[in-house]
């Protein structure tokens, strides 16, 4: 059973989103996603300052099994990336909701109504299997 923190929002492509106090959004991949991908060996992150549209490819996580795109949940600018993952991509496996975060966006607007909460995401992953 994978971990799904209640304070986060979730996408159908298995990213989690945390709204920070300053209004930026921190994005990572879920426990369900990291478990399905297996040991991470490489994370390709965007440049700070780059801007993306909603559902655009922002990052790539590569595990022993496969390469997987990570999408921008909303349109916005990248304000920070988790540079420590270059040396220790396995943090995504060990602590996907904490030290394994991927990037932080300043969204163009702050409507996150289209995303799932923890209960909805749990149900979504159960139905997916």
């Amino acid at each position: 059973m994978s971990e799904v923190p209640s304070e986060l929002k979730y996408t159908k492509s298995h990213e989690w989103i945390r709204v920070e106090d300053d209004g930026t959004l921190t994005v990572g991949i879920t426990d369900h996603a990291q478990d399905a991908l297996g040991d991470m060996v490489f994370v390709d992150l965007p440049e700070v300052g780059a801007s993306f549209g909603a559902a655009e490819e922002v990052a790539v996580v590569e595990s022993v099994k496969a390469a997987s795109d990570v999408y921008s949940p909303v349109a916005g600018n990248v304000v920070a990336v988790n540079e420590s993952l270059a040396d220790s991509p396995d943090t995504v496996n060990e602590d996907c909701y904490g030290g394994g975060w991927l990037f932080r966006l300043r969204p163009e607007d702050d409507d996150l109504g289209g995303f799932m909460d923890a209960d909805a995401y749990t149900e979504f992953t159960e139905n997916e299997d």
Partner: protein, 363 residues
């Protein structure tokens, strides 16, 4: 639900991630395949390989049959217990399967072939065996555990039956010893020392549990794949298949050309290709850029031609991405790989990458 080995419930109880492999429910890993990989390179790990197909060939026709069936020559096997790696070819010289055959006596051979190719292999062997005086006896009931790593033999020996322990301790690489029920080869598919143990299924769980208690790490198919890739060992269906000649799969060394009068299946086309020279070769690649090489990515050898990655992945030992690739014979020291729409530089190297815990290539 697929077929299950005698160890299936043990894997489930150890929280293994189970995947389908050739119709079998097999463990992919028990938490981290990279940790399992390192256990084999640095200490000892074990694999349930009971899904592999064991076939005994018995009778006076067994030897002439195998000399007809296999591209390598069982006539080279003189001492009981000796093992031989070989390809089994079709009439066009493509690879039906690769296998290990153990010589147990002039009228007694044991073959271990791949699980995913079991049905076609048995059909092929049975069809061609009809003209020879032998019995072909599949042994699907037997379990098989591979224990691999620098400490594998030392950790396994105390757990073997008394009757064969001394014989197993004395085994040289690529030889085997047999008791009444157990069969132990000093062979493997990781590039490390170790044993492959064929045993009755009702004793498999007990051996597995005692090996685990002795500090042997359970390892899944994931680690098995990265270990064999580092060791430069081919995987059937990825690095060669029925459309691929062994000469274009890095397996020319497994073909016994002498004696020239031995006519094995596929010999004609193979002789012809050997004379004309193979257009492709199997090489190792080490990625210079960041990222991970994957199966089927296109390889461009400048001024020479195009090839393809047959097995790509991440090497936990080298902490770099590596691959096996079939490329034009004229390929030089570097090439370009098309990775997810980008072009990346890779160094072309001689296989294997790693043997006995040591990285053998300079990057």
């Amino acid at each position: 639900m697929g077929k299950q080995t005698a160890l299936y419930q043990t894997h489930v109880d150890s929280d293994a991630k189970i995947v389908d492999f050739g119709g079998w429910d097999m463990p992919l890993h028990y938490g981290s395949q990279i940790r399992e990989h390192h256990a084999v390179r640095g200490d000892a790990g074990m694999f349930d390989v009971s899904h592999m197909t064991v076939v005994d060939l018995l009778g006076g026709g067994a030897k002439p049959f195998l000399q007809h069936l296999l591209a390598n020559d069982v006539g080279r096997l003189k001492n009981p217990g000796k093992a031989l790696y070989s390809c089994m070819l079709n009439e066009s010289g493509g690879v039906v399967d690769d296998l290990i055959v153990y010589y147990r006596g002039e009228d007694n051979y044991r073959m271990v072939v791949n699980a995913a190719t079991r049905d076609k292999d048995m059909a092929w062997i049975t069809r061609h065996g009809k003209d020879f005086d032998l019995q072909i006896v599949e042994r699907p009931e037997l379990a098989m555990i591979a224990v691999q790593g620098p400490n594998a033999r030392a950790k396994t020996l105390p757990l073997l039956p008394d009757s064969i322990r001394d014989a197993c301790a004395a085994l040289k690489p690529f030889t085997s010893a047999a008791g009444e029920e157990w069969f132990v080869g000093r062979t493997g598919y990781t590039g490390e020392d170790g044993f492959e143990i064929i045993l009755p299924p009702d004793q498999a769980v007990n051996l597995w549990v005692r090996l685990a208690a002795a500090g042997v790490a359970p390892c899944g198919l994931g680690a098995r794949d990265t270990l064999r890739l580092e060791a430069g060992m081919n995987l059937y269906g990825s690095d060669m298949d029925e459309q691929t000649s062994p000469l274009e799969a890095g397996l020319g060394w497994t073909v016994a050309w002498e004696p020239t009068e031995r006519v094995f299946i596929g010999r004609g086309p193979l002789d012809a290709l050997r004379s004309s020279g193979a257009e492709k070769k199997l090489v190792g690649l080490v990625l210079r850029d960041r990222g991970v090489l994957r199966n089927h990515q296109a390889v461009l050898a400048e001024g020479c031609g195009e090839g393809e990655i047959t097995s790509g992945g991440f090497s936990p030992t080298m902490e770099k991405s590596i691959a096996m690739a079939r490329v034009p014979a004229c390929t030089g020291e570097t090439c370009t790989v098309e990775m997810r729409g980008k072009h990346a530089e890779a160094q072309v190297v001689k296989l294997p990458f790693v043997r006995q815990g040591k990285v053998l290539i300079e990057v």
